[in-house]
Each structure stands twice: as C-alpha cells, then as structure tokens.
Symmetry: C2
Subunit: 275 residues, 2 copies
Amino acid sequence: MRPDPALLSLNTATVRAQWKLDRIIAGCERHGIRGIAPWRDQIAELGLKETKRRIRDAGLIVTGLCRGGFFTPRGRRGLAAAIAENRRAIEEAAELSAQCLILVVGGLTDGSRNLADARALVEEGIAAILEDARRAAVPLAIEPLHPMYAADRACINTVAQANALCDRLGEGLGIAVDVYHVWWDPELADAIAATDSRRLLGFHICDWLSPTTDLLNDRGMMGDGVIDIRRIRGMMEAAGYRGFHEVEIFSTNKWWNHDPDEVLRVCKARHAELC
Amino acid sequence: MRPDPALLSLNTATVRAQWKLDRIIAGCERHGIRGIAPWRDQIAELGLKETKRRIRDAGLIVTGLCRGGFFTPRGRRGLAAAIAENRRAIEEAAELSAQCLILVVGGLTDGSRNLADARALVEEGIAAILEDARRAAVPLAIEPLHPMYAADRACINTVAQANALCDRLGEGLGIAVDVYHVWWDPELADAIAATDSRRLLGFHICDWLSPTTDLLNDRGMMGDGVIDIRRIRGMMEAAGYRGFHEVEIFSTNKWWNHDPDEVLRVCKARHAELC
C-alpha cells in the first residue's frame, strides 16, 4: 500500500468557514487535488449549472454529494417530504456525475425514544428512493455515523448494520466508510471484509482527537489524533475498494481559522504521509 | 415489569460535587435508597473501615465498587502497576462485600494508535487478577463504555465484545450494562439475550441528552433524554437479571449544582416512573 496523492478528494466542509464553493473549486485545482465532495447548500448558493461548469473546467471528479438522508426527524408525517428532498438530491448528484449520494440517514424522531421505529423509517425512506437512484445511475451511500450521533443525526451506526440494510434492499445501495465514525468498532475488519466491493462507495478520512472537546466540530487533521488510518485503508483495499480518500474535517477551533491554502497543503502532506 | 423502588442504588458520583461519602451514605439511608456504589477515592478519604461501618449501619448493599481497570494507559510497562492496583481494589471490594468490582478497562496506550494491542493488554490484565477475584468472591464487571471513550477510557465498547472476553476468560468475570453506553447498539437486544444471567453483574441508569454538550459530564436524569430505559431493563430481566438499578449521573451544569437531597428525590421519582 503506497501513498497515492491522486486519490485525495476534498470534502468542501473542510474549508467552508473560509471559502465559498467557487473558491474551493479553484483551490482544489490550484493544489492538484483531483476529487471534490460539495454540500448541497453551497451548490444552491453558487447555482447547480455554474457548479457543474466550474467543476468540469477544473477537471475535478465529484466523489460524493453531501447529502441526502434525514428520513426520521419528523417521523412518518415527515417522510414524504424527506423522500421528495432526497429525490432532488439524486437529480443534483446525477447532474454533477457524482460517484455517490451520501446519506446521513437521520436519528430518532423528535420526541421519540424508539430507535427501532427510526431504523424502520430509514429503511422505508431508502427503499422509496432507490429506484430513482438506480435510474439516475447515482449509487446511494449510507454513511454509518458514530454512535454519539444516534439520537440526532444517524441511527445507522456500524458498517455491519449498514451492510445488513444493503442486503435487504439490494443493488444501487452501498456504504461510505468514514474512519472518524467507525475506527473504534471491534467488528470493523470483519464487517469491511464481508462487504461486496461494489458496495464500498466512499472512504472518508480525518482523525479522532484525544481528548475531543466537542461532539460535532472538533475533528482532527490526519495524524493529529489516534486513528490508524492506513490500517483502515488496508481493510478497504483488501475488500476491493479502489476509490478516493475524501478528507472531511469539521474544526471550529483550529482548521476553520487557518488560511485555507495552508489547510489544503497540510491535507495533502498528511494524506501522503499517513493515509 | 413493575416499578420497584427497592431496586434503586446510588452511584455516589451522582452527588459527589455536593457531598462527601459520609453524607452520601446518610442521604441514602434518609431517602430509603437501599444500594450504594462508592468510588475508591471517596473511600480512601473516609477510610475503608469507617466506610464499611457506616454502610453497614445504614443497612446499605454495595452494588458495585468504582472502580478497577485502566490496564492500558502506560502500555506493557505500566501493566504490573495496574494489576497491583486492581488487586487492592479487589481487597476493598471484598471488605465492603461489594456485589462486583466495576472495570473501566482503559483505552489506547498513550502515544499508540493500536486498538488491537490495547484490547489484548486488557485481556492480559484481567486474566492476571481473575484468580484473586475468584478467591475473594468479588465478581469482576467489565463495563463496556460508549465508543466515544474508546481512545481514553475503555476499548471495550459493546456488550457483545465484553461477552466474547468473558467467554475466553471464564468464571468470575461478567458485565455491567450501563444504558448510557449501550443504548444505541443495534445488536444490544441480541447481545444481552446471549448473556448468561450469572454474567449480568450490574445495570446502570441515567439518560442521553439530545443534544449532549460535553463528552464526559453532560449525562441526563432518567426521563430527560432519549433512552428507553424500561425497554433495556426488560432485556436484562428477560436474560435473568434480578439485581439493582444503579443511577450514575455526571452533570457539571445541572445536577451537580442542585441541592443533593432534591437530586435524590428526583432520582427516586424518575426511577419509579420510568425504569
């Protein structure tokens, strides 16, 4: 397993505090970063056509669109609206030729303590949009989120759990593995090994800082924390994954305050050194 | 499943900011709380003999001693010292006739990213003290901690993982199930059902606040969060657990600032209503 700078992709959240999307696209081109994963709110601001044009002109590959999902917050009465929103996200992903649409599936329904209900609603929601995704040739990537987000962001919390859902729903659905969310899992190696390579739709990198001071926005730059990223990359490649390494760092107190060109330089250097 | 106030036990951390151990013991007696789970630093301050005398005079049962474990922080070179410290904890637990010694096993070794090594070291440490625990008739209770503590507190993070370790090491070792740490686990029901009732050594309660603002000290009072505590109690009882319900709340911003008598009253009321 050798470092491969060509595999680096930038999730635009990493420098979203400093740059709007047009500048992020230009930054990727300037720094020789070949992949980009933009967020829908940034695309809406720049305009979908303009985003597509700039990404194409910069020669970037869209490794994922962030994001679909959130089927659960308003429960069954909100499901139709969530499905409609996810269909719009699929259209945008198709327009940008995104390699996948990332699904952050949603946590508990507001006011509910029933995780089983939330998980069933997620399955129902994904099932409802899966045919649209297949027709649009946009694979849906379930991103299992760290268990500390089970209440408010995603009730799918392990690779094994995502895999079981993929088994039930079939083709067109896969998994994005983010080291931040799964590094702790004692079953991780087995779960990735058990995953069909066609289901491995994304590999996201950053680091877990110890101590972590904020549940949301205290993610670390690769190498500043405790995750053995290369080992997890090894699991992915052993299972057949050949895609990009998408760096995604939410960092209120550190990286969002840095010169974004410097952030991209550090991302590249750490990726080459450690991932 | 009916509410049973006689099953309430107080982990002394719940009011440690307001009261020293002697006052906590008196508080339990005054409020008719029959179980107590003291911490070793508090016992050291009051004195082991004096603690024993006061707990006996108050008619309390020690549902667990907090805590042993932490086999990993200094790695192999710290293991002998950790084992020695755990042997002292076993002696204290025996002296207090504690129903178990809680093990918070430790996270990654300082400076290491190797979770597998840490987990192996935990197993080695527990194996080294297990015969002492058997001789002292003090069951060792592995407490699987929430995955957000994998780096710095415990690299045993699910009931299934703890169970596998118990399978390997045998009699005298079991599990303390804390709803805060395990509520999110999609395998929880299966994992508890697969646990021999003799291994179920403790059931700890509090609540997961949504949002949670601090990784350590923002635990909620039962009913203030999203955990379906009674459902997890049902899993425990279906598996044969008949022990106490130990309330343990770390709460810098709320309960540690309240009148501790009021805290105990609320614990009792919420336990009767929701657990």
